[in-house]
Subunit: 202 residues, 2 copies
DNA sequence: TCTTGAATTAACCGTATTGTTTAACTGGGT
DNA sequence: ACCCAGTTAAACAATACGGTTAATTCAAGA
């Protein structure tokens, strides 16, 4: 692994663990086993380094999300499938929800840069979703609700379990094994919840 | 309002907004309109000041939680009621969930001090809850599930909407009015979700 | 009036860290 | 011999940190 990759990896770990402001370039360098100056040599600034990492994860997520947004079928079942996809994606980098929360609070401009991309990916299918939802409700396949209800519920159930991890790890002091089991349970429960609330079971 | 109260109020706002580490005693003093030294004069250390604030909110929450934990009745309905109580409590200090998340990550020892108190309040009724859950399932009044499922779902649905606020405010750029409306919708949806998942409707 | 002691202030303590830059040096390719 | 990306140690200026000190204000009690 080149030094550049080493820095990138170390930076990712630090940012995901401590957020943007609480992470210093010196700490990153130390973790990567390189001198402090190398960070600036390769990435010029802390922000550029961070944005490169954030880019990877955001586009990775959007890429995973895209096909799901276009699937045709019972809205309730699609919602459950989407929730699973998001959940599994978050499970790959369990601190990603925290990082998003952190920078949305301290550096929202970092996220605003993605609005355009996000809109073209998601808003494009919004119309179709609403249409299918209305049809689903009319046909008696979907429980009465708004598209907003479904979006928010899916987003919440798929990310919140990871936001709660520090409490379970450090306060409830669950072992890594128990953490894994808990997440597995929450994944299954998430699907049951979405089915129970939005599907009529027909 | 005395200077001491002024400091407490300012400190609360700062801690709730930025977390523990990212808040400085100097900033608190400036916001309170007093000199830096006053903070140490009244509260000796930053940590003591913080713990006093945290104490108030934690005990306030536990006090609100206690009666709900002892209510007898259909577990699914009690869960929905408890969720509403927690949600409304969080709505009084919308950044409280964030603060808990922040210190669970950076200073879990601050929270571990409450474990004893928490256990006597909550664990005492756990046995009863499990018993009532099993009876509810046997009688066909409650959907098959574990007590853990219900606890986690209630905690998640009642707190996650507030964790997401920075994204809605700063990235989605919802107006305060829209934020209020969104939270109101999530409150109602939370109840519908819990009913749909855990109650048989009988 | 004098004394006491809490309230309050400005200034400063030493230490640490921040992101970034500079200038020198290395070693392999041309 | 030259070059240049890679790499280093050192230092940059700024600033912030939590906490302390000594002096001053001021009102209440003796």
């Amino acid at each position: 692994m080149t030094k550049e990759e080493e820095i990138l990896k170390a930076a990712e770990e630090e940012f995901f663990m401590n957020g943007y402001d609480a992470t210093s370039t010196a700490t990153i360098a130390k973790r990567a086993g390189v001198t402090h100056a190398m960070v600036n040599y390769y990435f010029r600034t802390k922000e550029k380094l961070f944005m490169q990492i954030l880019d990877n994860h955001v586009y990775d997520l959007l890429r995973a999300l895209k096909p799901i947004m276009q699937v045709d079928g019972n809205v309730a079942h699609v919602a459950a499938d989407a929730a699973v996809v998001i959940f599994d994606k978050m499970n790959e980098d369990r601190r990603f929800p925290y990082l998003l929360s952190d920078i949305s609070r301290t550096h929202p401009d970092f996220l605003l840069r993605y609005r355009e991309t996000f809109d073209t990916v998601c808003r494009s299918s919004l119309g179709m979703h609403v249409q299918r939802l209305e049809k689903g409700i009319a046909d008696g396949n979907v429980q009465p609700c708004t598209m907003h209800d479904i979006y928010s519920t899916v987003a919440t159930l798929a990310t919140a379990p990871f936001m709660n991890l520090p409490i379970l790890e450090n306060v409830a002091q669950l072992s890594p094994d128990m953490i894994d089991r808990h997440l597995q349970e929450r994944r299954e429960e998430m699907v049951r919840i979405i089915r129970a609330r939005y599907s009529t079971g027909k």
